[in-house]
């Protein structure tokens, strides 16, 4: 039979936040390269780390260029997703994702399997080649 639900909620959970720590990309963050370039996929004893963010603030969000240190080399990269929650309808990824890029903006790899947020389409002019190799969009 249907039951009338009476709720007596204890409000002690309201201040105990259950969300995890929020991180955007800044200097020394370890990132995950998601394209199929050789530099990004060959194993190395140190993870790729960000050493500079090309931004007024040192904090990189989706669509910002950063300088990575991979396998002892410096390489520019484009941020395609981070663990920090952003504006409400944008996706939040479980890892800080990055696509390797040349100085002129051409991507190093040829395919991107992981989903890319639609927000990047706003800057179609600069990232057209990266968006062209992306397969899934979220």
């Amino acid at each position: 039979q249907g039951l009338l639900r009476r709720s007596l909620s204890h409000s002690f959970l309201s201040f105990a936040s259950i969300t995890g720590a929020r991180q955007a990309i800044q200097k020394l963050t370890r990132v995950r390269v998601v394209d199929n370039s050789a530099l990004g996929n060959t194993p190395y004893h140190r993870p790729p780390k960000c050493i500079h963010v090309y931004n007024k603030t040192g904090v990189g969000k989706v669509g910002d260029t950063i300088l990575l240190a991979i396998k002892g080399e410096k390489k520019k990269a484009l941020i395609v997703g981070h663990k920090m929650p952003g504006p409400t309808v944008t996706p939040r990824f479980d890892s800080n994702n990055v696509v390797l890029i040349e100085d002129n903006g051409n991507p190093t790899g040829t395919r991107i399997k992981t989903p890319i947020p639609y927000i990047l389409r706003r800057r179609e002019g600069e990232f057209s080649k990266v968006l062209a190799i992306a397969r899934n969009f979220v």
Binding site: D94, N136, V138
Partner: protein, 246 residues
């Protein structure tokens, strides 16, 4: 049968069959979305009344179905940067937060081995449709621990078909106990403050006992923290259902 008098017994008509009208039973179960219930505080109830009017207005335009944390939803939003200008996302609801017009819910899915979570606002005009593909509840109100669970528990097919269910059935509670990735986790889910029942802890007994050190058993009996919403819910339910029928 012959009664004690010797005369034939008075005719007893057979007992009338009891007709259980399922339609009437259905009306007994009612669901009030949690964002209608005002939070405890000293704000003027007029503010909540005006917000409720706006929420009902929005609900007349779009059908916001009944769903709980643990149900699988498909949300289509208007996106200027997508092909077809619409963006469809399927995922399991892990959290429902906010009250009033700012009520949100977070959907989680794992696409191509990458966990993605999107937080949607229920009453945002950008949302074009909310579909419930599978309506069910879980053992907890907050499934944030799915981030530290094995990815198979958060993967759902983007082209999943809606699971049909009858109207008058009780909402099924999925008593699934989720297996976790090895520690470290984003939060220490074994601690009693999160009160999680949906994880199959494979930690040694010593660690479980050590986690109980942080238990605060007096909180359950703290009367100042009680918020009895039963009467408020009844009033708001009557108000909302009348407005929606118009």
């Amino acid at each position: 049968r012959i009664s004690s008098d010797g005369k034939p017994a008075k005719f007893q008509p057979p007992p009338k069959p009891v007709i259980i009208d399922k339609q009437k039973q259905r009306e007994e179960r009612r669901f009030l979305s949690p964002e209608f219930i005002p939070p405890r505080g000293r704000t003027d109830p007029l503010k909540f009344y005006i917000e409720r009017k706006d929420m009902i207005q929005r609900r007349k335009v779009i059908n916001i179905p009944e769903f709980y944390v643990g149900s699988i939803l498909a949300v289509t939003t208007a996106d200027p940067y997508a092909n077809d200008k619409t963006n469809r996302f399927v995922g399991i609801c892990i959290q429902r937060g906010g009250k009033g017009l700012g009520a949100t819910f977070v959907l989680r899915n794992v696409i191509e081995d990458q966990g993605v979570e999107v937080c949607y606002e229920l009453y945002s005009p950008r949302i074009q449709a909310i579909e419930v593909l599978k309506l069910e509840k879980r053992l907890d109100d907050n499934l944030m621990y799915l981030r530290d669970a094995l990815p198979e528990y958060s993967t759902f097919d983007m082209n999943m078909k809606p699971v049909s269910r009858l109207d008058h059935e009780e909402i099924p509670v999925n008593k699934l106990q989720v297996r976790m990735k090895p520690k470290p986790w984003s939060k220490r889910w074994e601690r009693p403050k999160y009160n999680i029942k949906g994880i199959k802890f494979e930690l040694p007994e010593k660690k479980m006992k050590e986690a109980q050190k942080w238990s605060q058993p007096w909180l359950e009996f703290d009367m100042l923290r009680e918020y009895d919403t039963s009467k408020i819910e009844d009033k708001i339910w009557k108000e909302v259902s009348e407005e929606l029928k118009k």
